[in-house]
């Protein structure tokens, strides 16, 4: 019984941890949206900033991946 409650808590926690991916989605969308709006204003400078955009995406995405990692840890390691 006690193990069941622990497992239930772990599963609920894993589900809750996945809400962090929404934050990563907002972050990635914000980065790309701002890149596009900047690129439309000054298309000639856009190509040189593509790499910066991808680095920004990667950093925003990393935090969502940490929530995924927490979910995985709760599912398989706790």
């Amino acid at each position: 019984m006690e193990g069941d409650i622990v497992q239930m808590g772990a599963y609920i926690g894993a589900g809750l941890a996945c809400t962090g991916m929404g934050g990563a989605a907002v972050g990635v969308g914000h980065v790309v949206g701002n890149y596009i709006s900047g690129a439309l204003r000054n298309p000639s400078a856009a190509a040189s900033q593509t790499a910066t955009m991808f680095i920004g995406i990667a950093f925003a995405e990393a935090l969502g991946i940490f929530s995924f990692l927490v979910a995985l840890l709760l599912m398989f390691a706790v």
Partner: protein, 250 residues
């Protein structure tokens, strides 16, 4: 799993595709056992050799199709290293090219139905990320000596903020191999699991299976894009870390 069978046989095991199995029977896995992971890694290496060694053997002035693909890949990565790491980062271009090409081929080979995605395993990506982490750290210390620590001491910030920023910078430095490896593995694993879940829906819907099949097609197309972008992101982050190691004082 008994309840699954009671509700009409909707059985989805999206993670089963990531099980490491020995190639020639048996269950025991030692460090020398050939498994499906080693097989697909070897195939990735074979593809790299076919493209970059056999494909460019002609060294034609007017390149053949395979040779122009190889030249495009070379030029693409070279420009990336030059843009992000600077001129003195170009010396380490072969390492980044190796990482990029290997990850691209591992990802793309994993997209073949029934294939095994080696990069979906954190063990594989963590090895590459830790190699990058130690390489970059050792390079930074060798090149800059104690000055490498100025990476954590941001001189552009106000003096009161610097100790706090230093703590944050140190934490973010040591989290790098974690995020670097899990980004790639997580993206590959999640994408393939999504395809598998839709495939499970398609299996039980009968005629209605056209909808999950359409979804699989769309997700698959997205996965082709993600495969390339994640390899690109892995390589470009390696370039960023390399730049930090070569020029720690921002």
């Amino acid at each position: 799993m008994a309840s699954d069978q009671a509700t009409g046989g909707l059985q989805i095991h999206p993670m089963d595709q990531f099980i490491v199995k020995p190639l020639f029977g048996g269950d025991a896995i030692h460090w020398y056992t050939p498994t499906n992971v080693t097989l697909w890694m070897a195939l990735a290496v074979v593809c790299v050799v076919l493209l970059l060694v056999i494909g460019t053997r002609g060294r034609a002035l007017v390149p053949s199709r395979v040779q122009s693909i190889a030249e495009l890949a070379y030029g693409f990565v070279y420009k990336m290293v030059e843009d992000v790491s600077g001129k003195d980062g170009v010396k380490y271009f072969p390492y980044i090219m190796t990482l990029f090409i290997f990850i691209v081929f591992a990802n793309f080979l994993g997209l073949i139905p029934m294939a095994f995605t080696t990069t979906s395993h954190i063990a594989v990506t963590a090895t590459m990320a830790l190699a990058v982490f130690f390489f970059v750290t050792i390079l930074g210390v060798v090149k800059n000596g104690i000055g490498f620590l100025s990476l954590f001491w941001i001189s552009a910030a106000p003096l009161v903020l610097r100790p706090i920023l230093a703590i944050i910078e140190i934490i973010s430095y040591f989290v790098r191999p974690v995020s670097h490896s899990i980004r790639l593995a997580g993206n590959m694993m999640a994408g393939h699991a999504v395809i598998k879940v839709f495939a499970g829906f398609a299996g039980v819907l009968g005629v209605g299976a056209v909808f999950p099949l359409a979804a699989i097609t769309a997700v698959y197309a997205l996965e082709v894009l993600v495969s390339f972008i994640q390899a690109y992101v892995f390589a470009i982050l390696t370039c960023v870390y390399l730049r930090d190691a070569l020029h720690p004082n921002h």
